[in-house]
């Protein structure tokens, strides 16, 4: 018998802001749709452990898609003459376009890092269409720690610098294998893509003045941040949670900025109860 994993990958045709895309996504399980958003400059492989976790897939249809320009989702026609720049609007429209194209009913959206940031906007603007949001390593704002110009220039190797920069943002306890697999994702990003994602993260998504408008009784908000994350620090997440009445915040021990991929075994201790709680919420 072939040793097959339960994850299935397919391509979806969808348009975002009038531009057609061929988007790659993976899924496993059945039940409540759970969309997983990868970090800046990486792709869906970060969620492969979650998608292979029977505890989760027995009640969730876990799905993750590569954003256009990432992983196996190609950039749009004519990309060679464009500089990729993700904005709050484009990111939101892309996620909602995926949900609609897949005809998902009230999905849970979980994102990490920039994905953990955008779920705040989703809860604010599209809370009625979602069952809940989970922000991993998410906050309404955070202080930058390097100049993103280093990420895309001919005299510095893009893949090597992206991986080397983010490498320290994991917990020292995270095992070598998943840690280096996480870095491999960064080594494989297209030129300028991590930088283009960080345009959203650094420049276009200061949500400090709007997160107070999120109604967590309408769309429950969970924020989980690793204690070793020095990019989105526990303080950033705690501050954000305080502004959203009813939100639930957890600081995760022995985890950094990539909890689902740097140490899946440690992460599941924190995410299983959250997913269990969300599954138990009665739909209004």
């Amino acid at each position: 018998m072939p040793d097959l994993e339960p994850i299935i990958g397919r391509y979806l045709r969808m348009s975002v802001q009038g531009v057609p895309y061929r988007v790659y996504f993976e899924e496993a399980g059945s039940g409540i749709p759970l969309i997983c958003l990868h970090t800046a400059g990486s792709d869906t492989r970060q969620y492969r452990h979650l998608m292979a976790d029977g505890e989760i897939t027995r009640s969730y249809r876990v799905m993750a898609f590569d954003l256009p320009w990432h992983g196996k989702s190609n950039p749009p026609v004519g990309f060679q003459d464009q500089e990729y720049r993700l904005t709050t609007r484009l990111y939101t429209d892309t996620i909602m376009a995926f949900c609609r194209a897949m005809e998902l009913k009230k999905p849970v959206v979980m994102g990490c890092s920039m994905g953990g940031r955008i779920v705040l906007e989703l809860a604010l603007r599209h809370g009625d269409e979602l069952r809940a949001v989970i922000g991993l390593e998410g906050a309404d704002h955070q202080e930058p720690w390097y100049d993103t110009a280093w990420l895309h220039r001919p005299d510095v190797h893009g893949g090597e610098i992206c991986a080397a920069l983010v490498s320290g943002n994991m917990a020292p306890h995270s095992p070598d294998e998943p840690r280096w697999e996480t870095l491999w994702g960064y080594m494989q990003g297209g030129p300028g893509i991590f930088k283009g994602d960080l345009y959203f993260y650094r420049v276009d998504s200061d949500f400090r003045d709007r997160v107070a408008g999120i109604d967590a009784s309408r769309c429950p908000v969970y924020l989980l941040t690793g204690e070793y994350d020095f990019s989105c620090t526990p303080e950033d997440t705690l501050r954000t949670g305080k502004k959203i009445p009813g939100s639930k915040v957890m600081i995760m021990e022995r985890l950094g900025h990539f909890p689902m991929s740097e140490n899946p075994a440690q992460f599941r201790k924190y995410i299983l109860p959250v997913l269990g709680e969300i599954a138990g919420i009665k739909e209004k």
């Binding site: 280093w150 005299d155 090597e160 490498s167 320290g168 943002n169 917990a171 020292p172």
Partner: protein, 125 residues
């Protein structure tokens, strides 16, 4: 600890490979102690302890001795696991030829983190 870097780096083939294009003199400051490392194609060929008077070097990495002590633990506390975690919290400073640093960041991080091997050995002893 800095005096042990040549042995730690030069016996590690993976680090040497990553640093194969690095030939430079760098300065590492541990509290009040000033060290100068000569690197040739990734290999550390000299460590000198200061004080130095206007000696040239391409990169300076500076942090208090206490911060380096945490950084070199097997499991550093949060905020001390990475040189940029320490610069973000204002405990470390990196200056000089940042292009050289960024072109070879994995190498320089490996070099600075090399003493953790000794902490691991001590822990396992």
């Amino acid at each position: 600890m800095i005096e042990k870097l040549p042995e730690l780096v030069n016996e590690n083939q993976a680090i040497l490979h990553r640093g194969r294009f690095v030939t430079a003199e760098i300065q590492v400051i541990v509290g009040k102690e000033d060290y100068r490392l000569r690197i040739e194609e990734g290999r550390i060929t000299g460590v000198e302890r200061g004080p130095f008077i206007m000696r040239p070097y391409s990169i300076t990495i500076r942090a208090p001795a206490e911060a380096w002590g945490k950084f070199w633990q097997v499991y550093p506390p949060p905020g001390y696991q990475d040189i940029f975690a320490m610069t973000k919290r204002g405990e470390a400073e990196v200056s000089g030829d940042l292009r050289l640093l960024m072109q070879n960041l994995r190498y320089f991080k490996d070099l600075l983190e090399a003493p953790r091997k000794l902490a691991r050995e001590e822990r396992n002893a």
